[in-house]
Symmetry: C2
Subunit: 132 residues, 2 copies
Amino acid sequence: MKYIEKLRNSGLRPTKQRLQICEVLFDTEKTFHFTINDLANKIRKQLNNKISLATVYNTVHAFEKKGYLKQIPINSNQTYFDTNVSDHHHFYDLKDEKLIDLEASEVGPIKILKQINGKKIKSVEVLVKLED
Amino acid sequence: MKYIEKLRNSGLRPTKQRLQICEVLFDTEKTFHFTINDLANKIRKQLNNKISLATVYNTVHAFEKKGYLKQIPINSNQTYFDTNVSDHHHFYDLKDEKLIDLEASEVGPIKILKQINGKKIKSVEVLVKLED
DNA sequence: CACTTTTTTAGAATCGTTATAAACTAGAAA
DNA sequence: TTTCTAGTTTATAACGATTCTAAAAAAGTG
């Protein structure tokens, strides 16, 4: 398994559940956006496997902390995650409530002209809301 | 009362509660960020007044729909609103969990170089995360 | 005042997320 | 292997923000 080492190197034990979640998250051609519920359903369907919702929460948060997933800053009742951890942005289609990636290269360079006392910029994220 | 007309013109009846909420929200020198709970507490303290939490929710949503308030897209368990409805952006201090305004003029022009089929851009919002 | 519609309200319901504590598992050491 | 320990999984309870409900109150109209 290609994920065993990756997990070990992160200080995460490669458990059956984590490896399965890795498969669903990272064994895909394209990156994608998901909520915890989306993911739990996908695992159950795709792997015909019951997995505790608590484990999905735990794992997603562990992976996020390690930088394998990103949270998408958006107002919704559910939290959205992204398997695309590269520097990029999002469209949000207000009508269909769907997210679409917007690569950093598809946005002109962003200059932040204001500084905050002892703080450093960790990330700059753009959300473009779409309407019909 | 200066807000009576404003409310009437929006098709909202100028009730005692709405006028009081207007006072707390808009009778300030500076704009500010708040959650529903922040606001409810502020009203109770500042106006020595009990007001139903449900009314605060109703009113804030009504005001948002009318464009007197903006929701701030950020991941938090609570929804943040802004009395600053001008085109602007935000810093988010990850450590202190505080929001700071970032005026549009303090960000270089943002060019969105990707188009989505039949959709129009409604807004472009930047979130700058800060760390120490 | 009489009447209709909107609004407020307390409390219940909902639902995403987190906490709990017991059972289980991985890894290491003997 | 066997034993041990810390890390993990799990079902379920708890939590908390938000929404719903339905009845009472207030606003607007004639």
